[in-house]
């Protein structure tokens, strides 16, 4: 139950469009996990929040991750909690999937696959890009 009671110190204006761009594979560094922590925290602040998995970030979506074998939190399982945090705008880069020869595993039913043009449009419609 982290970060439950934050955020009442400033008045927030109209929601901003924030896109987390996740480009990191899940376990080689903690960046992928840190990005998810930031996303879960952000979900408490009524912003227009979305996530795009691109490049090695798509490796976070592979099924059957057994991260306990390397003493790490399971990224795929954390991702499966996103709907409970009302995070529903999830996108993945079709080209990144194809290039790596992987099919969608975790949260596949909730995620929208975007061709390059559409991905590019998504990026340029934001107020801020949070690069992870």
């Amino acid at each position: 139950m982290m970060m439950a009671a934050e955020g009442n110190t400033t008045t927030m204006n109209a929601p901003k469009k924030l896109l987390f761009v996740l480009r990191q594979a899940p376990y080689g560094s903690t960046l992928a996990k840190d990005a998810l922590d930031a996303i879960l925290a952000t979900s408490a602040y009524e912003q227009d929040l979305s996530i795009a998995f691109i490049d090695d970030g798509v490796f976070q979506l592979i099924n059957n991750q057994q991260s306990e074998l390397i003493d790490q939190k399971n990224i795929a399982r954390i991702l499966s909690a996103l709907p409970l945090y009302d995070i529903t705008q999830l996108f993945v880069c079709a080209a990144s999937l194809a290039e790596r020869g992987i099919t969608l595993g975790a949260i596949s039913e909730d995620i929208t696959v975007l061709e390059p043009e559409a991905l590019r449009t998504l990026l340029s419609q934001q107020d801020h890009l949070l690069s992870f």
Binding site: V21, R23, I54, A95, P116, R120, L123, S124, Q125, Q126
Partner: protein
Amino acid sequence: MSAILHIVNQSPFSSTLLKQCMDRFNNDDGLILLEDGVYGAMSQHPYAQNVRNIKRCYAIKNDLLARGISLDDISDSIQVIDYDEFVQLTIEFPLSHSWY
């Protein structure tokens, strides 16, 4: 549709970062090469041709000179800038994305 200022800090000789950035590049976007990213400004680098096609490509002067890269050795299409100009570009472009 907002133009994006892409910021790249890894060498294209050791990382595919620059390629990944260029794959998402729009005509009206900008590219800043800094830190080891400035090796991407050298005319010999693997994507030199692509970078040449970018209208607005910039490299941080001090990062080039610190690495012994002569300003004569970089592609003609690349503008050499300082941090004041870097700040100006982040204002001119409504969005920035850091590739690292």
